[in-house]
Symmetry: C2
Subunit: 480 residues, 2 copies
Amino acid sequence: MYTQSKIDIVIEQIKSQIANQRFVVGARLPSVRRLAQDLNFSISTVVEAYARLVTEGVLEARAGSGFYVKGQMQAKKIAEHHVQYDREINPLWISRQSLDANEETLKPGCGWLPPEWMPESSLRKALKHAAKSSLKMLVEYPVPHGHMGLRQWIARKNNQYEIQVEPSQILITDSGTQSIDLIFRVHLKAGDVILVDDPCYFNFQALIQAHRLQAIAIPFTTQGPDIESFEQALQYQPKLYLTNSGIHNPTGATLSVQRAYQVAKLADQANLLIVEDDIFSEFEYVPAPRYSTLMGLGRVIQIGSFSKTLTASLRCGYIVSNSQDIEKYIDLKIATNFSSGHLNAEIVFAALMDSQYLKHIESLKKKLNTSMGLCIQRLRQLRIEPVLIPKAGIFLWCKLPSEIDAAELSRRCLKRGLILAPGHAFSQSEGAKHLMRFNVAQCMNPQIFEIIAQVMDTFSFDHEKPNSEMLTNNNETQSN
Amino acid sequence: MYTQSKIDIVIEQIKSQIANQRFVVGARLPSVRRLAQDLNFSISTVVEAYARLVTEGVLEARAGSGFYVKGQMQAKKIAEHHVQYDREINPLWISRQSLDANEETLKPGCGWLPPEWMPESSLRKALKHAAKSSLKMLVEYPVPHGHMGLRQWIARKNNQYEIQVEPSQILITDSGTQSIDLIFRVHLKAGDVILVDDPCYFNFQALIQAHRLQAIAIPFTTQGPDIESFEQALQYQPKLYLTNSGIHNPTGATLSVQRAYQVAKLADQANLLIVEDDIFSEFEYVPAPRYSTLMGLGRVIQIGSFSKTLTASLRCGYIVSNSQDIEKYIDLKIATNFSSGHLNAEIVFAALMDSQYLKHIESLKKKLNTSMGLCIQRLRQLRIEPVLIPKAGIFLWCKLPSEIDAAELSRRCLKRGLILAPGHAFSQSEGAKHLMRFNVAQCMNPQIFEIIAQVMDTFSFDHEKPNSEMLTNNNETQSN
């Protein structure tokens, strides 16, 4: 890593890529020739580096097949299955791909709306408004809880869900993800067991890995988590259950009242904290049941942000909790981030207060409704079938024809500038192999379906191939 | 914490306050009467709660003296000393006090400039500019590394220090503190040993506690860290040394070239990472030596932000490192925060590009120079003597008359609306008892020195008191 020979550089780089899951256990490394090209090093340098890594037990050489990442499975249920399953599509794969994507890339796999769908005028007005705000607002830190007006707005929104919240029970953070991170750091330690939905938002898995937690994935049904699996999982003394309230990511399912009540009872018995990620609430026509409505904020913590309906470019999220825990989150936030942005929050608040904002949300729902219908039609023409028809939201969770592997389809589509969200990024269950999440708002361009159709056709031809290992090799060569 | 009796509420609250260091080990709890008043509960409720906490071994009752926090010292060198030393001034004390402060509060203890000293016009212009920026900029996530223009600005600034940096070696974060947090999370695990300066920025201690690290405090001299102590500390195999480059917080000292070279040699031998917090660099007249200049970015990681010279209200910081580590920070940032703010960065960048900004920095330095001289005069009239005269920056590290305890002075001044920064927030050494950090930019109001003088006078009278424990009790009663 420091004053290094070229060989050390290669070794360090591979180790770091293993460390941050770029290469997971069992993954095949690039061919010597390929890596030497990419790094512009000599073949002998790479050979020597690979050889040393084999001696160190980091890699193993398989005769005639190449070098593979050795090493024991991690303690994480999700990571384990994941690793057994697919070697490239790890929890960070879609995030990195989508964030790295350029203007031209088509992103039906990403989790946000196209820019043209966002409330441009409200944002521009909010920025002009901010330019005139008080000097204190322009340059000073906010109070530890964060922007008061924004906390009042969040409190009012919660009151609509019949959740009684005071602004003092709300902490403004820099993102919904940061909110979960703070909650994990306050309530959990490495090795703790938590429950997540199967499937769940892939970045939950990245968070779980970052915190070295053990996650048990509870099958998610059209009614909510499968209650028998949920009850069985309690024997592992989970500390916390992380889920979406309102609209579930990736399935688009909504919790039923009965299921919410069953989960609530079990959570109370097992002294289980519930973290409700409320990030898609603005898309709901009728608010779905929420654990916080049912149980209050004793053991339920609500998090959210404004990245889906307002902007992802100004970081602003929040935590709603009981006042005692909020104090802990605040102290940790000061220690690890010092403060949230006051001006960010002021701009977000001004945009929310803009008369256009509510109209924007209404038209957004209509547009989503239309594109949802259109997307379903186009997918069915490709024999891609929604697992369920969501009541609202941006996601369609779909089943591919049985011969199509979602991860492989995603890899091939990526080479044609199309980013998909394959099932394994959300679930390690066998079935996920043939599942795919589509963001209907990002599916308006018909080209997307043409590319998917063309790439799907290449699969029939694979069937003559002896095994899929061969396939990936061929594939790799084609891509050179 | 959940469906609770009043007794449980009291118990939970005390436990959480112990957990988040509001009450440290050895600390005396409020009197039963006092807490009953504050919570508006009955005395018997509080008595019962205290009794149960004694049974649980959380508290211990000392006859005629009250209830104290029991429990073993933490593994943290800093925390230990800290705990032995003072029971209210913990690392978060000044942060919370300063952030909670209202308009009227005088803040010579805080770490930032008064609003009037900040580049108001550049910021307002930057916001108007942002209001006209592209839709993509308004609503979309930036690339994983963050805002390109800002990274180029940071690279240019580093090149002035003869540090060769590419934008790909820079990650935009949400704050300087978050930068350190990400670095700690990538390179350290709970229990690891790190080196810090004695004294050091109090929030470093909060970070160390949040990460459950063991910190060894190396005495800081006018030349830099005491090299013998530094060498001795290496026997504990520290992983990392966290320090300020440029102007040191709280002492205002600057590293000498010889000392930088000595530390660099030791760091290379011991395979020690160095994190340079460069947050005060804009205040320098002549750049002080930097480890990154001397050693490059192999083992030195530079962090910074714009909160001191531009605004604290828009969160924006950065990490400068080698490209391999930057990849690790990016993956962790995506997992734990998803993204940094693009629009935040654009506004910061536009303000930095404003023709007024450089003029602002120049006039800032002049004003600081003047107020530094004035502040020294006024403090000397109170027999408060600077330990050294800094070359630049906003801090004066001063010695109080021997009879004045800095922590006690701070407590009493706080009651008169004056926030000070006592030595123990920065150091646990015996000497720190009589040391105090002053922010010269926040010392322009003569009232500050009148209040300090009046409060210092109350100390002579304390001398008749048998012991300081009595004192604090009295004091507590006075404050009712």
